[in-house]
């Protein structure tokens, strides 16, 4: 049992810490969706290769490495689609694609030449990745896609979008859909946490045979979502820590009734409760990151527990951060409000606390 970082991991953490703290604060971290220009820096640092196998040209990084990256991005509230634009589509490509598809889609992704997105959600099925109604029919010259996708992140900067669809034979398919396809339509909007999302409609989108990645994609999709969830937990922990630090600093500096707020026991204990939640959430983020190589059942059970736990902890920390900042916490000008928004909306990405608690409930063991 060992919770320490290797030398390389410590270097990675230090580099990223500097990267996010040296950035000038973007006054509207969650209200402005312009790209930060950091993606190219990510490429130069090897972050885009980090999570992929060495045979594919990646760096063979572990779940813990991804955790380190995401914690830093959470600390800096960096709104680059590392999860939506890299981890999710990249994992599907790495697990499903043949060598030509890898060459075409994965290799450029890892060097920052293009970005991708994953369209897995639909309005009718909330967070259920397997209940898709978008349909793919096999035709003589390829595939015909029909359906609609909801809340696709990072599509605005993507060269192509991976779309999940139910295939005639009942399997789950993943299809690479270029933005330029006929019948493809995208409607962009901003999210409350400063990302760009879109709805996509697919009306008879015709695709060539090789648009499908592999065969049944159910297992690969679960693996991608597991990585994404573990990564989001780590990001939330990074953001939670900053929200706590800023709240603590504010309590020490703000004076009322002739004394710093930090001298009031009711606020001290609330602050400790926030700290407690962060430590526990951090433990769960570690558990999630360390479970990615486990058999799927065990992996998904642990990651569901982590995502559920972090969702609750993030909500508590966010709400208390606003509360303890008083009216200041309500303003867009106050940095902590952006962290709070990020932490609340974290629960709406890749399955919320209820979704994951139900997952655990369905698999609750007797022992």
């Amino acid at each position: 049992m060992d919770f320490s970082y290797s030398d390389e991991q410590r270097m990675l953490a230090d580099t990223l810490e500097r990267l996010v703290t040296d950035r000038e604060w973007n006054g509207n971290a969650t209200t402005q969706t312009a790209p930060s220009g950091l993606w190219q820096t990510f490429a130069e640092l090897g972050l885009l290769q980090l999570p992929f196998n060495e045979e594919d040209g990646g760096l063979g990084g572990s779940g813990i490495d991804v955790m380190i990256v995401m914690q830093a991005l959470g600390r800096g509230l960096v709104r680059e689609p590392y999860v939506a634009g890299l981890l999710l589509p990249g994992t599907l490509l790495a697990r499903l694609a043949n060598s030509a598809q890898r060459e075409r889609w994965l290799a450029p992704l890892m060097v920052g030449e293009h970005r991708l997105a994953l369209a897995w959600q639909e309005t009718a099925v909330r967070y259920d990745a397997h209940g898709v109604t978008t349909h793919a029919r096999r035709q003589a010259d390829g595939w015909l896609l029909e359906g609609a996708k909801h809340l696709v992140l990072g599509a605005n900067s993507a060269e192509a979008i991976l779309v999940t669809a139910r295939v005639d034979d009942g399997t789950l398919g993943v299809f690479v859909v270029p933005e330029t396809s006929n019948g493809f339509e995208r409607r962009d909007y901003a999210t409350l946490d400063g990302q760009v999302a879109c709805d996509i409609s697919l009306e008879g989108v015709a695709l060539p045979h090789d648009a499908r990645l592999g065969e049944d994609a159910a297992g690969a999709l679960d693996a991608a979502l597991a990585l994404g969830r573990a990564a989001l937990c780590a990001e939330a922990v990074g953001a939670m820590r900053v929200a706590c630090e800023q709240t603590l600093a504010y309590l020490k500096e703000r004076r009322q009734f002739g004394t710093p707020l930090a001298s009031f026991q009711v606020l001290q204990h609330r602050m400790v409760d926030m700290h407690l939640n962060v430590e526990q959430a951090h433990s769960m983020a570690i558990l999630a990151a360390a479970s990615l190589e486990r058999p799927a059942d065990e992996r998904d059970y642990r990651i569901a527990a982590a995502k559920a736990y972090c969702g609750e902890a993030a909500r508590f920390v966010a709400e208390q951060a606003i509360q303890l900042h008083g009216a200041m916490g309500m303003t867009e000008e106050c940095h902590v409000s952006h962290y709070a928004k990020h932490l609340i909306m974290f629960d709406h990405h890749l399955g919320d606390t209820d979704h994951h608690l139900e997952f655990i409930s369905d698999r609750l063991s007797a022992a």
């Binding site: 049992m1 919770f3 320490s4 400790v272 007797a366 022992a367």
Partner: protein, 397 residues
């Protein structure tokens, strides 16, 4: 980073498990399983087995006769003991006064007391709290007045756990009434059979006699029974309170309680279905399971830090708060799971040797245990005190 136990640690776990399977007396195992109070003799029989095996001084270094385990081994040992329904080692000698003697005692004191603890010759109790000094321990008023080679001690101690069995008490006394609060306190070892000591039981709301009041009326204590210098008692007390306490989270107990809860709620019927299938109840069990997963990893993080030389101070406060809350929630859910069957109360069975028909015996302790577990967030520094410690030491508030 790696969350797995090493092959050596796994082998150690198996070794502990095998030992418990063969050496823990069946009658004791059954009493613990049913939540019945153990007699002094039950405790001693088990602790003698551990002593024989060299496993009683769990946190002790080898030079003093301990097994020399690191925090991870101790965690494994605790977990296996809970799972096997072994009694908890009475902590006052082995885990509380012994580390203080090792850190602050003279060579003579170490030579005399430590072997006696390791062979169960002395049963220690704790003389800390007083009627007027609970969370504000430093306001204690029990006086020790120097008279030649002796102190004359008068005052009252309370909440003295298992003091009814004890022949020795480690005790905080005020040796200098003029000094500032913490500065006038000394740490004395007192023979419970000394003239002037009387012990009165306090019956708690679960009907149990676990804690006592101890009255000291001009009790004469040799000066050689003082640990450390006069006026250094608060240092010893603080050392004891912040001393690395690997069991503080109660992960082993919580795991056992959750297993018991799931089994019970899987058996108890609600409208013809197991209670565990009732969504509202199941949800709370699921949340407890998730909380336990988080607590265990946090606990392991603190253990790993301790093994690598870090001294867990305020972190053990966090573990204490969350661990006690979780164990209380589990005792609440277990009580609710029983439904009307939580009401019957059989004190002669729980605290004595009376027999009981199996259908009652199986669940007799659940209701009373719920009330007993309220102590978890109160003793050893209440959870509110723990939070104030964290605010001060970890957050600098």
């Amino acid at each position: 980073m790696n969350l797995d136990f090493t092959p050596q640690e796994q082998a150690f776990r198996q070794q502990v498990r095998d030992f418990l399977a063969t050496e823990l007396p069946d009658d004791i195992r059954e009493r613990v399983r049913l939540g019945r109070r153990l007699s002094a003799d039950d405790h001693l029989r088990w602790q003698n087995v551990l002593s024989q095996r060299g496993w009683l001084g769990v946190g002790w270094p080898q030079e003093h006769g301990g097994p020399g385990w690191g925090p991870v081994e101790r965690h494994i040992f605790d977990e296996e003991c809970s799972a096997a329904y072994a009694p908890t080692i009475v902590p006052f000698g082995v885990s509380m006064v012994a580390p203080v003697i090792m850190a602050f005692g003279s060579e003579d004191q170490k030579r005399h007391y430590l072997p006696r603890i390791l062979t169960n010759q002395d049963w220690w109790c704790q003389g800390y709290s007083e009627p007027g000094a609970g969370s504000d321990l430093a306001s204690l008023r029990t006086r020790a007045v120097r008279d030649g080679d002796e102190y004359v001690v008068s005052g009252q101690k309370t909440w003295t756990t298992l003091g009814q069995h004890a022949n020795m008490m480690f005790c905080l006394v005020r040796t200098d009434p003029e000094a500032k609060k913490q500065a006038g306190i000394s740490f004395l070892l007192i023979d419970m059979h000394s003239p002037g000591i009387s012990v009165r039981p306090i019956v708690t709301l679960d009907g149990a006699h676990e804690v006592n009041e101890v009255f000291l009326d001009e009790v004469r204590v040799p000066v050689t029974n003082r640990i450390g210098e006069e006026g250094q008692g608060w240092t010893c007390a603080k050392f004891l309170l912040t001393h690395e306490r690997t069991g503080i989270a109660g992960v082993g107990h919580a795991k056992q309680a959750l297993r018991h809860l799931k089994a019970l709620a899987g058996r108890v019927q609600h409208r013809g279905r197991p209670l565990l299938e009732l969504a509202s109840f199941r949800q709370r069990v699921v949340k407890a399971e998730v909380e336990l997963m988080a607590l265990e990893v946090t606990h392991l993080r603190v253990l790993a830090a301790a093994r690598d030389g870090g001294a867990p101070g305020a972190e053990s406060s966090l573990l204490k708060v969350r661990g006690s809350e979780l164990r209380q929630e589990l005792s609440e859910l277990t009580r609710r799971a029983l439904g009307p069957a939580a009401l019957p109360f059989f004190p002669e069975f729980l605290y004595g040797d009376e027999t009981l028909e199996p259908e009652h015996a199986e669940h007799a302790a659940v209701g009373a245990q719920y009330f007993n577990r309220r102590k978890l967030s109160i003793y050893g520094g209440s959870n509110e005190i723990q939070k104030s410690i964290v605010a001060k030491t970890l957050l600098g508030m």
